[in-house]
Symmetry: D2
Subunit: 373 residues, 4 copies
């Protein structure tokens, strides 16, 4: 295996982000023995696909996503469309023996996610989910510190994802606010990212207990004509129990005026703590003890942190979303080359989806729910 | 009523803080038509009381707290001892017709708190609990903003109280770690402060659902001889439902390495948000909207905020714990003068205690608990 | 010497602050073998003095500051009036053998400051200037760290004092904006504090080079009738050379919209750095090295820092202006008791005044000025 | 003009950054009517150039930079080598009629910079200097706010650029520490960036007064054999006077332990202030007034800020160095297409170089230096 030829399905914001990352890969990973090619792309319409191919640097385009999967010269597909299409596409891609890089949330239900995973396992193809935020170098560094055992037994995780772009009740409805199109609201869209952080940093979640709220129950219709019901959640709060004994809480909302993309966590362990906030993605705050004079050190991410040498000669120059996507693509392509899944793979995604489902049941029933594994 | 003559019961850190505040009151509230006098003090021993009287500026001391209550020239008592003594002292003080300023947590149980409240009501004396942190000018300002309705419907409260002084498992046990002496651990000691914030800012809590954990189950005995069991909680996490429709979460722990006294909250409402952290007690962060370019304004507290003109001519000179205690004493003394309880009074304390109790039941049973009112 | 009997001259904000500190001293320093008494006070009028005596807890008052100095039962005077009166009062106090605690800035000129110092030396009385901000525990800790040599050779000092209370050109003139009454503007009022920080942390300043600007040249008259000229500086910027080889810069202004009391510094040394901001007075930021992964640790001040055990049992409870003034009074009283000046004494004040003067000459001539010593 | 064919001279970190930006341009600016091509590249050796061409996506490579300039199919050259080569290359490129994008600092001297500018003007080619940090969206936004006049008269600029990668005296010497190879030390390397900020935000600098220091006078030789002298500056501090009446100060150093890439400024104007720190490049802090309750708003950069819609659908996703370079390339290419220089062009670079020179003279003579214009 010396090259991975990509077929993209989807040409929106993520189509842009993934293709840029693919094209920049060789510059930052010059010693990487795998050639990445942007072979073809499909989108909502042939015209969109054609424009995207030209714009993003694909060698060709297809009229239909099935045509992408049908091509012999495509080794891997990037599934970059709304999650209600993931199941069908992934099943077809797996059946065709394509490796699969899939945007989050994985699916509309646990059943869908399980079927996708089973299909990929049967086909023995590599899978990976784009919970991209865990690939922020500061988060990778946090995970390394925790995994090293330097901080001892983890006690607590507090995760938040706060935005405010729906706080205005005058904003019209859109597909993200319809259960039939999005599956859920805040839950799948952003809570899933915090759960991914929790699983990445502390491992399996065993039990959950949650609240879900819809703050604005109806909104102007997208076409401006009348009002439509909002049938998904606007905010999620929950408690967690981890298999390793730690406990946790999560708040996720799109109704926190003034908060833009505050995706953050604090982890407290026996011997130290970590704090991260994606809005300041180039920092990790570390406390390495608990003496009376011990505070948190603000560490600016640089060459000595995960993947840092790939990007800059000194600390503080700063990664953005682009570099995170490059790391993601790199890790996926490497998994294709080595034959070993990079994380989070579909199995991880099933676990994430199970937590989301358990949260829904918990919120509906008012009881703790065990997360199967 | 032109004067309030205080009898203190307790001469520790809070004895120092309360007496200093009493003595400084006239300087900052020169127009206040009530004279405050430090009449007498009792402590664990007569010798301690005598030294404290001299040190803190009391006119006399007593050998026993009952003697303080028995004095005719004492109008009000400050109950500044460990909470397992509150019930007995308060009942006696109320029976003697003394007004009562009582440190938190109020009592060892809801029943105790209810009896204390009933006794005070029967005696028609003023009561107030020392949840002092709510009197930080920035918190008072936050409450004013919320109460004004300027931010509309409250959606969410996220409160934390993180410390690390017990994170070291080598720290010996003490009375705060014994259920028979302290009633509970983190729950009464610091969670109660966050609940007070929640009640002060958003009103009644209707339902709770919580987790409690003891991270270090035994510790060196205080006398260094062997090890003793820890039978109170080290960490509390919970979800809240407010009567006004908002939801909330709380984390409180003494096991967050690097955190010293991080007592903070974020409140998100329909039209704005507020953030506070006691470690930066002279700041309030305010977002007054949710436009794409809208962030949080860091407001430095000064003369134009609650009680500010009492303390400084310009913003940013800074209150500390002393000024907070002065505001507390002022408000209590005013309540004695006017005959109207200042908040939080014993009735508020009962509600706080009911939330604590509901949390214990919830943690034990794994179910949502309704808080009676 | 077992007691220090104070006579205050001045009953404004500083009269309030000093007297509260005196009265609280015993509570926080119970083992301190000196009795502090508030014996008498004089103010702008007898009525003001009488009210202040009652309000602040003095045993008596005087009609004239000369009467304070004339009293045999006064050991020390606190000079708390505008700086144009300092010279006359201090000379008289020294002649009467009184110890002298004097607010800043010390004097209207270097000559005045030198005469005051000489008079105090002749009389062999203790002197101290109230550059109170250096007694913030975090600043005391910074100085200890630097003095310990742990950070090696100091390289650079960057100090700022930014406020905005004069930024509005509609604010009427007052005595602080008149050279005949205040001596200078920003220079003596706030630049002097930054210079005190510089001298406290890094020692003698040898050469200065500065800019001074008046941004609003005339303002409404205080009585609202017409406009008056502003003949003092609104902003100062300068460069510094220290005797120890370090260099520095200072910006001080009352025209920084949004800044309230931002008095801060950064010190870079061979082996570490320190950052302080008075608006967050309970924090010191420390870098103890310069590895690629080395950042600043945010240390929350507590019992283990200078004077901390006097105030609280755990970190993060917070000092405010009151505690700083208590430390100041304590150190002055101790100097009276021990016979050894506490710093900054009048000799330090002369050096501060010489820097201010050199800055004025430098700004007027556009050249580096050597600071005599 | 429908395309710009680039020839790169230099294949280091900046070769990587520029080429990635060129290749990503179409994805983010799909409506941009100019085609960018990576035609050829030269580097220190033919082998390096060949590897870089492959790695960065160039159609070809050249053995010598003169061959790049000689090619008819190259419209523009990117000069990405050490600044001592800029003069010769730029003169040749201009003579060949190539448009020129040149890394900073512009040249080894004012004379060189003037000759480069004159050559470009004679040839009527577009020029631009890569003071990339001014193209951070937050800085572009700051400049828009100031230029709009919303804040009124500017009063003060305080700029810093603090790093610590040379703080360790054990680090071996390199070309950046030799005057013959680098021209200067901190001055050209990082002070020049702060000066660019100052000029971008507040316009022409008229007078300067500076200090320069070399903290570590000799270092281990690069080959480890013996020690070599450091004959460039390690730290610069200076005062500035702007043509618009504002004043300023700058500190730039590579000896601030704990600081990594702290490139920041504060600007105070009559009616508002701005604060920026590149380590948190996705934030701008804005004060829009000076009322007692007025603080700074932390604005998270997003789609509504300059170029934001090009990159993300919501705020807070974050630009890094890559996006800044894309904006730079875009603006340069547009200038080639429109025939109008983008700023900072060579004329701006001459002014920057004149300030650097005036600083050197000032530091050597201890006097204010006028900056010619």
């Amino acid at each position: 295996m010396t090259r991975v030829r990509f077929g993209f399905i989807g040409a929106g914001f993520m189509g842009k982000a993934h293709s840029q990352a693919c094209r920049a890969l060789k510059a930052c990973f010059p010693d990487f023995p795998v050639q990445v090619e942007l072979t073809t792309i499909a989108a909502a319409s042939a015209a969109t696909a054609e424009a995207a191919a030209e714009r993003f640097g694909f060698a060709s385009f297809e009229r239909d996503w099935r045509d992408v999967i049908a091509r012999d010269d495509v080794d891997a597909v990037s599934v970059l469309v709304a999650n209600r299409f993931h199941h069908e596409i992934v099943l077809a891609a797996a059946a065709a023996g394509k490796h699969i890089l899939c945007e989050k949330p994985m699916a509309m239900s646990v059943v869908e996610a399980e079927e996708m995973t089973a299909a990929a396992e049967r086909a023995d193809v590599r899978t990976m989910l784009c919970f991209n935020y865990r690939r922020t170098p500061a988060v990778l560094y946090a995970q390394e510190l925790l995994a090293s055992g330097a901080f001892g037994q983890p006690y607590a995780f507090r995760g938040v994802y706060l935005q405010d772009w729906l706080a205005d009740p005058g904003i019209a409805s859109n597909w993200r606010l319809r259960q039939d199109l999005a599956g859920s609201g805040t839950l799948g869209d952003i809570t899933s990212h915090v759960i991914d952080f929790a699983q990445f940093l502390l491992g399996d979640i065993e039990r959950v207990n949650g609240l879900m709220r819809t703050w604005v129950g109806e909104r102007p219709a997208p076409d401006g004509d009348g009002r439509v019901k909002v049938d998904v959640d606007d905010e999620v709060m929950c408690l967690l129990e981890f298999a390793n004994g730690a406990i946790g809480s999560i708040q996720a909302t799109r109704f926190a005026p003034g908060r833009k993309n505050f995706l953050g966590f604090e982890v407290n362990c026996e011997g130290g703590s970590l704090i991260f906030d994606y809005e300041r993605m180039n920092e990790l705050w570390i406390s390495r003890g608990h003496a009376g004079t011990q505070g948190f050190e603000r560490v600016v991410i640089g060459p000595d942190h995960p993947y840092g040498k790939r990007f800059w000669p000194i600390p503080g120059i700063g990664v953005g979303f682009h570099e995170i996507k490059m790391i993601e693509i790199h890790d996926f392509v490497r998994s294709v080359a080595t034959g070993e899944n990079a994380r989070p793979d579909f199995a991880d995604g099933v676990q994430n989806q199970r937590v989301l489902h358990a949260l829904e049941v918990s919120a509906a029933t008012g009881s703790w729910q065990r997360v199967p594994s």
